[in-house]
Symmetry: C2
Subunit: 302 residues, 2 copies
Amino acid sequence: MDDWSDYLVCLAVAEAGSLTAAAQQLGVSQPTVTRRLQALEQRFGEPVFDRDQGQSRLTTLGQKVVAHAKRMREEASAIERAVIAQDQSLSGLVVVSASEGLGADWLPRALASFQRANPQIGIEIAIKNHSANLADREADIALRWNGPGTQQSLIGRRGATVGAGLYAAREYLDEYGRPENVEDLADHACVGWTVGDFFGWPSTVSGSAVVPKNISFKANSPASHLKGIEAGFGVGVTSHRLARHCDNIERILPEFTTSLDLWVVAHETVRKSGRVRAAFDHIIAQMQADSAYFTRGESSIL
Amino acid sequence: MDDWSDYLVCLAVAEAGSLTAAAQQLGVSQPTVTRRLQALEQRFGEPVFDRDQGQSRLTTLGQKVVAHAKRMREEASAIERAVIAQDQSLSGLVVVSASEGLGADWLPRALASFQRANPQIGIEIAIKNHSANLADREADIALRWNGPGTQQSLIGRRGATVGAGLYAAREYLDEYGRPENVEDLADHACVGWTVGDFFGWPSTVSGSAVVPKNISFKANSPASHLKGIEAGFGVGVTSHRLARHCDNIERILPEFTTSLDLWVVAHETVRKSGRVRAAFDHIIAQMQADSAYFTRGESSIL
DNA sequence: TGCGGTGAATACAAAAACGTATGGATGATT
DNA sequence: AATCATCCATACGTTTTTGTATTCACCGCA
């Protein structure tokens, strides 16, 4: 009768990449995963994983199993969400997902006051580089740089507008000169992104086209991107709130400003829950209260 | 880690109507079902079933759980089908679903020869009054009075055309007279159907409208419908193959004939399996070989 | 009102599953 | 080339889960 659970094990192994990793992800021991998989393969009479060479790769059959198991998990998560929505009490756990920067910086402080006001509600901050999958209940609430988007049954509210500008390290500017106007930018090295749609290098500033000479450094996270600017790789676009913490970088061409909207997103069913709704509303309120921090990087509130 | 299995238990209880019935349907003991449900409700912190009055009714939350669990089962069934499709060996079990009449009469004989030719393949005949849900793998192959229909991913072939005509009990005809022509039919009592779209009372015969005086008897299955005709309730439309077995009924107005197509349906994935495909093809072939039996009721082959 | 039947919860023994510890095999690293 | 690390399979003692048997509660029926 543990058929369905075996599918869950199978899915975990496929996603974790190894039986050992899947075991600790599931909260069971590695031999248990081994046995459950053996049971599954014995029931099927067909192997699900090829473990010829140490590493486990899915067989053709295994791929189908995993595909269906993923949908099973979505339904299972929907059940959990329904249970949470049912729960109107202001107690329990709320999982908030955010990217590195916000998760480590603003979010803990913002939620601390919430936790003091609602001691019965536990807070868990899940740092995810990718967007947390709210459908699979990786989190109850997610902070995102875009709205609910195409995904159905998600609700989102724009919480803050994060302002950004052009920055460069002081040493870099001392060596290569401070751009006086927009045209000068074309001669400078650019610090860019490998992935994601964070603050981008401006294509035009005040109507003039900007073509950076070269991209000297690329990062895949706001933190390392900022480190690249600090290290003097060149000029980059970063938020005022991050730049504020760096003493050795300097804003240039202050007439250039850009911004990105910060969204708070949750599943519509989960938001029916008393505690999730309370946390959601608190985050929104806190963001609005800290709007000066987000838009201009003013750290008076810290 | 048995979370998913608990949902299966919950679904079984909802569908079976009682913990005891669910237990034997799942192949476990009744206390196990009790405990699994308790575990589920403890995990939720909310009741799933109201068991105030002996009978178990779903709570609002329980209804949601069951709805999602049903979709989980569809995915789980899809996994099982994928495994069966993978299995190209001519051994294992094939479940064939049919309505009462065919399931008890023609089908066993038709599959007997198949079983002799393929001793490694076990045959199970599932008599279902409703159309077996092939998506949930209630059966591998189903005999139906209509094609695959709207359901996606089902494949069907028309196997036989079942002929039918107007019949009535000899005693009834002796008492109320044998209709000589179509117009006489309007004065006779009619044996009809409560549900389903089996052979219907003709609206027109040879161009003349037929309005039966009254419907004296309604049945919800071919067998009881025939019993109604045999009992002398009036004139009814039944298949020649069923009428052939009744000595005390008599065909009237032989110029009226109608027919219904008998389909053999299977899931496209399941049909990839060697044994299911073999059984499928055998049933089609046997139907075609027995076409005289289906269309005119000739029992030479019995 | 008493009685029989059905369905759900408890008690204890048996069985199954699990975890810790260990061994063997493969690939990476020094 | 040797060592180390990682990962999977096996062995054994323990925990957990399950099944059998029983009891309890409830509804229908006489």
